[in-house]
């Protein structure tokens, strides 16, 4: 039972990931990317790592969407771009992502309400043998693995500096550079 659910989620991951790379339109690619993230979090959930599943949704699916809205707002050019956006996004283009999400949603509903109890118990025994709480993760991250947190902070810093520098020097308009500097 649980294996089948896992396989369905994995199939959704693969399909949506492939559609992400093959989509020509950025918005469409992003939609499929969000579906991929949701499916990954579903897999985490099935494996008993509920905290990782929640993080997956909050950090990836949530933050990516927010960032994207942020960028579109920054690049907004009034009525012209509104028309452009309307042209970009029809409901019919999102139908694929919608169907894939629907599959995941059905899975979730099934697990929550229609799962036979004995299977549920078996699941608890095989996968939940060591329930990992937020506190445990926090203890690990600030205990033996604290250096990894520092390293990942430096990694993010280097990615940030790289992104800012490259995007800055790509368009050499002096005016924008000054504006960005003021923002920084």
């Amino acid at each position: 039972m649980i294996d089948n659910l896992f396989l369905i989620s994995a199939a959704v991951i693969l399909i949506s990931a492939l559609l992400t790379i093959t989509a020509h339109n950025v918005v469409h690619a992003l939609l499929y990317l969000v579906v991929t993230m949701l499916a990954v979090s579903m897999v985490f959930f099935l494996l008993g790592a509920s905290f990782a599943a929640a993080l997956q949704i909050i950090v990836y699916a949530g933050a990516i969407m927010v960032l994207f809205i942020f960028v579109t707002m920054m690049l907004h050019q009034g009525e012209k771009s509104l028309a452009q956006e309307r042209h970009l996004f029809h409901f019919s283009t999102s139908i694929g992502a919608f169907i894939l999400t629907l599959i995941l949603f059905c899975e979730l509903i099934f697990i929550l309400f229609f799962m036979p109890l004995d299977i549920d118990n078996a699941l608890t025994h095989t996968y939940h043998s060591e329930f990992i709480s937020v506190k445990q993760i926090g203890k690990q991250l600030y205990g033996p693995y604290s250096l990894l947190v520092v390293i990942s902070a430096m990694m993010l810093l280097s990615a940030l500096i790289t992104a800012i520098h490259i995007s800055k020097s790509a368009h050499i308009l002096p005016k924008t550079t000054k504006n960005q500097e003021a923002k920084l």
Partner: protein, 475 residues
């Protein structure tokens, strides 16, 4: 917190200092000095730490060998750092970020070299490659550099994905991400053997990409040509050193020679790298591409070291002789390569081999330095490169790796051709005499050339002190 972490913390501190200073007022000289001082402090502390006893933490391991390799890494980075200032002055971009990314790259390298855990290894690798993308695509106006940056970004992401997959499979088998757990034979065999071989091949693919060994070598020529020269120097030395050390440690700890397929793969990769690297370099007119291809061949030679660990057919050498070979070869090759790059940085207009024409008659000292470095790369006696190759041949003979030895000899012979081609190009009379007249030759460059010459020729003629030092470390 142990004493061993301090050099890395100094690097972090230096980069944060540059970041803070960058927020208030941009000054090139300040960033230059801050990065230089932190590198110097890290170097001296590392030198001081040579004598400390070894320490194994969950994430990192520190012993005489890792300390020596970190020291080597800091020395190489210091040599490259001394070349940055003049080059950056000629750029129109903002300059301070380069030092920041430079220090972070060095930090990634140091983390990788002493990592004892797949998590710290992977984080170090990512820190290094992410900073490298910034360093490669630093010149925003340069189309080629941007292209090289994108190429490196995508390819290194693929390599990282391979490494992660391999790591995940190994975790499934061993139940731990620590390198030291690879040593213990697990009580229950969870996975069939072929999956473990697959995992090892995945990890090898990722690391072979970083080392640009055949068949993962296609990116390197474009990258060497497109990226700024200083970045190329870093890419050719720091990234390859760190990746090779991790490869060697994994091979050593996991005892992956027990799988015949892995040995076959290493033999094939090694021979193919020697062959492809040397043949491609032979027909190359572009100087940087030539160096790129020759570095493929050199790491092909170095792969022989991986086959030596714990082999039964030892004739006269001990376990530590293999380590000595590795360390000596790395020292020799990396110092020579840094020397070549520092000469190339001093000759900013030289792109093709023909551009070197007449260098010998106009700037004899620079030309002689480059000639000696080329001879060292080719492995001519009385240079450091010869001693390194001598070590390698000796190790290969002691373990009776005849096939690899034949490939090594053949490869070196072909290599001699194109290194001599570079020398001939320098001696040839130029068509126009003014090409090198406006070269800047200040005391900084001169002293650097003398230092490199001293290292390459001095240790080539009197290798005893260096080899004794390395012997001490390897034991």
């Amino acid at each position: 917190m142990s004493f061993y972490y301090i050099p890395s913390f100094i690097l972090v501190l230096g980069s944060l200092m540059i970041l803070i200073q960058l927020c208030f007022k941009r000054r090139h000289s300040f960033a230059y000095l801050t990065s230089g001082l932190s590198l110097l402090a890290a170097l001296f502390l590392q030198l001081y730490l040579q004598k400390n006893e070894s320490l194994i933490e969950p994430l990192f391991t520190f012993n005489a060998q890792t300390s020596f390799i970190s020291l080597l890494l800091f020395m190489i980075i210091g040599l490259i750092w001394s070349q940055i200032y003049h080059w950056l002055e000629t750029l129109s971009e903002q300059k301070e970020e380069y030092y920041l990314l430079f220090l972070l790259t060095a930090l990634g390298g140091v983390i990788m070299v002493s990592s004892n855990h797949f998590a710290s290894f992977f984080m170090g690798l990512e820190l290094m490659s992410l900073s490298f993308i910034g360093l490669i695509a630093y010149c925003g106006h340069d189309q080629k550099a941007q292209e090289a940056g994108i190429k490196y970004l995508i390819l290194s992401a693929i390599a990282s994905a391979f490494i992660l997959m391999g790591t995940a499979i190994l975790y499934l088998q061993f139940g731990s991400l620590s390198f030291s757990n690879l040593m213990q034979t697990p009580s229950i065999q969870v996975l069939p053997q072929w999956t473990i071989v697959c995992a090892i091949i995945f990890i090898f693919t990722g690391l072979f990409f970083k080392l640009s060994l055949v068949p993962c070598h296609l990116w390197i020529a474009d990258l060497f040509e497109g990226a700024p020269l200083v970045t190329t120097a870093l890419l050719a030395t720091l990234s390859k050193l760190a990746a090779f050390i991790v490869l060697w440690r994994l091979m050593n700890l996991g005892q992956w020679q027990q799988y015949q397929i892995i040995i076959d793969i290493i033999v094939i990769t090694s021979i193919a790298s020697m062959f492809v690297g040397n043949v491609l370099a032979l027909f190359q007119k572009n100087l940087l591409r030539l160096v790129a291809y020759s570095s493929i061949a050199h790491f092909g030679y170095l792969l022989i070291v991986l086959l030596l660990i714990n082999n039964d057919k030892v004739l006269f050498s001990t376990q530590s002789f293999n380590t000595q070979t590795l360390l000596f070869y790395l020292v020799a090759y990396l110092f020579t390569l840094v020397g070549v790059f520092s000469i190339l940085i001093q000759l900013p207009k030289v792109k093709m081999l023909d551009d070197l024409n007449g260098l010998f008659w106009h700037k004899p000292f620079i030309a002689i330095t480059l000639i000696l470095l080329m001879l060292s790369l080719a492995g001519i006696p009385l240079t450091l490169g010869f001693m390194a190759k001598f070590y390698l041949v000796m190790a290969a003979i002691s373990q009776q790796l005849w096939l690899l030895l034949a490939a090594l000899v053949l490869g070196s012979t072909v290599g001699l051709f194109y290194y001599l081609k570079v020398i001939l190009a320098m001696v040839k009379r130029p068509k126009n005499d003014i090409a090198f007249n406006n070269l800047l030759s200040d005391g900084n460059n001169l002293s650097l050339n003398i230092l490199i010459l001293f290292l390459v020729i001095g240790f080539g003629i009197f290798p005893t002190s260096l080899s004794q030092f390395i012997q001490q470390i390897a034991n």
